[in-house]
Amino acid sequence: MSQSTPDTNIDVASVVEDVNLRRIGHYTLIIFFLGFFLLPLVTGIMTALKTNEAIARTVPFMPPLGGGFTLANLEYAFSQLSHAFINSLLMAIPATIINVLLASMAAFGLTMVKWRGQLVILILFLIGIFVPYQAVLVPLARFWNNTFPLADMLSPLFAGIPLLQSYHADLVPLIITHVAYGIPICMILFRSYYQSLPNSLVEAAKIDGASITKIYRRIILPISKPMFGVVFIYQFTQIYNEFLFSFTLVSSASSPEAPVTLIIPAIGTSTSGIDFGIRMSAAFLAALPTIILYVAFAEQFAKGLETESG
């Protein structure tokens, strides 16, 4: 019954046998999808690095050769966007930080603390996720422009802060809007994480005499570090890439406080046609901060996803 003969000699036939149709099919599929996903990216990068003439004459995904190579597109796009980058980061970073902090606090309060009426609040949060952006645009614009013109109130204050200009005040309503809109989904992400934590941690801290705020600050906040990584990346990307709110609340693409997403649609277009080189350069430059963020937090991101599912 038992086979204990050791495989000392490698059988060539058995190796060849492994290369069957099924395997070939797998690899063909993999290569196909690799091309499918990578080709547009490669095309984009190559286009960004080509002169207009080269774009017109060469195959889109071929690298620029000889005289076809140029950095002028990138330089131009950067000069157009540099201002907007500052605006975008000035908006996205505080918005994300406030958003993630508040969401984690809300999740803590709704998961690990018992109080009356909890369920009603939780349902309100859930509803918040499903309110479509488009439905609130007009009331939102009216609110920030007429009912409560916060930007106008703050602009003299901002003029006094070094490194900031008075027009940066226009970003504050945008930040608040993003925070309000982002909390529900981030809260749910944190909540699922907190639910997986052992209840005894909070109970032990309670018996140790810690108050609710101390439990959050000293126990829960440090423990949720991996989750903060995940939610931060997610929410930063959301806010940085967001277009509709910026479009509604910022007067125009030419206004000084316009974030990146407002400028990109108009860049490289003129009456003489579309300059693809500039458009592609701008697109890659605009994507850079989120890519850097992903790379920087990749480990935390993976860890966070792990803990969430585990």
Binding site: P198, S200, K206, G209
Partner: protein
């Protein structure tokens, strides 16, 4: 002064009753073990003591003060959790110190001193800079204890603290916990489902089942004089043998055994028809069957066959079936001396002394009569 009183304490979660009308007095510096099967309400009782649950009805006093609605930190208690609940991101030093931070009257350096003092008592002083994740189960257990004793509380609450340790370490920690409790002289309420822990550690044991208190008493009292069939079955390892049957003229008639009563049992069972006989495996006397074809059996002796032998070294546990019946239905379990080796399948003669018989009411489970305890046993060789 860490005495505890539970006065008709009840806890309901919606429709389910977790703890029902439990009244219990725990003396200062006593080690009380709350024991029962899973879901019997022992943990809920402990959590009410800790202030993690609010009683639905009844009152709770610690050191004479009413505690029902007091927050945990004002109860002067410390609790050890089954999963230790160490804060994973803090070092052991910070973990132990955490509880001190809210105590009045400590300066920073005094806190550190106290932490080191406690760490030394528990032998974890060389682990203070590590994180809980780097520690073994036994070490984590010690840290959890350290966190509890650092504040010098009036009452220790322990929720199955040894359940996550391996058997060897558990036995070691059991002794250590007892010594620690004696040294600190702190009232301790210890929850476990393990009857060995209950028997070996407790000054007194409170047995809970289905949220109701079954019996409170010293370990040997519960062992020899159980108040009902549940306690009799729960306390003692291996479990007490139960024989179900009815009263008859001659005594007891069960499914497998007819057992004539002596005078003592006769008097006790008067008027009750539905009976359960209980006899501890240690009290079942087993000897090799007579070789003669017509064995000469006494009134309290039976012919049986050994079906399974479990050797423990110091003792053997025999499962016995009725000689005339199929092997897969055990009637009794018996504990014999370690050198008394009987092979499965061997016929044996089993004797049960009527002095050792417990009788329970088959309907209510209440004890009708417990075994007689010889105050001074005569040694006969």
């Amino acid at each position: 002064m860490g005495s505890i009183q539970l006065d008709h304490l009840t806890k309901r979660f919606g429709e389910t009753v977790a703890v029902e009308d439990v009244t219990l007095d725990i003396a200062d510096s006593e080690f009380l073990v709350l024991v029962g099967p899973s879901g019997c309400g022992k943990s809920t009782t402990l959590r009410m003591l800790a202030g993690l649950e609010t009683p639905t009805a009844g009152d709770l006093y610690i050191a004479g003060e009413h505690m029902n609605y007091r927050v945990p930190q004002n109860r002067d208690i410390a609790m050890v959790f089954q999963d230790y609940a160490l804060y994973p991101h803090m070092t052991i030093h910070e973990n132990v110190r955490f509880g001190l931070e809210e105590e009045a009257g400590y300066t920073d350096s005094e806190m550190d001193e106290r932490v080191e003092e406690v760490a030394e008592t528990l032998g974890i002083d060389d682990l203070l800079d590590r994180k809980p994740g780097e520690l073994s189960g036994g070490q984590q257990q010690r840290v959890a204890l350290g966190r509890a004793i650092v504040r010098d509380p009036e009452v220790f609450l322990m929720d199955e603290p040894l359940a996550n340790l391996d058997a060897k370490l558990r036995a070691k920690m059991r002794t250590e916990l007892q010594r620690l409790q004696a040294d600190l002289d702190v009232t301790t309420v210890y929850v476990t489902h393990n009857q060995t822990e209950a028997m070996t550690m407790g000054d007194r044991i409170a047995v809970l089942n289905d949220g109701q208190l079954q019996q409170v008493g010293e370990p040997l009292e519960l062992y020899h004089e159980p108040a009902n069939q549940f306690v009799a079955g729960f306390i003692g390892e291996p479990m007490m043998n139960f024989l179900h049957g009815n009263r008859a003229d001659a005594g007891f008639v069960g499914e497998h055994i007819e057992y004539p009563f002596d005078e003592r049992l006769e008097r006790a069972v008067d008027g009750v028809d539905d009976l359960v006989l209980g006899v501890r495996p240690e009290a079942v006397d087993v000897r090799r069957a007579d070789e003669s074809s017509a064995p000469n059996l006494g009134p309290h002796e039976f012919e049986m066959t050994v079906s399974v032998t479990e050797t423990h070294g110091d003792q053997n546990i025999l499962s016995l079936t009725h000689a005339a019946e199929s092997v897969d239905h055990d009637v009794l379990r018996a504990v014999t001396d370690g050198m008394h080796i009987v092979k499965p399948g061997e016929p044996v003669t089993v004797a049960i002394d009527p002095e050792t018989i417990h009788v329970f009411d088959g309907k209510t489970g209440k004890t009708i009569c417990n075994r007689r305890i010889e105050t001074a046993r005569e040694l006969t060789i």
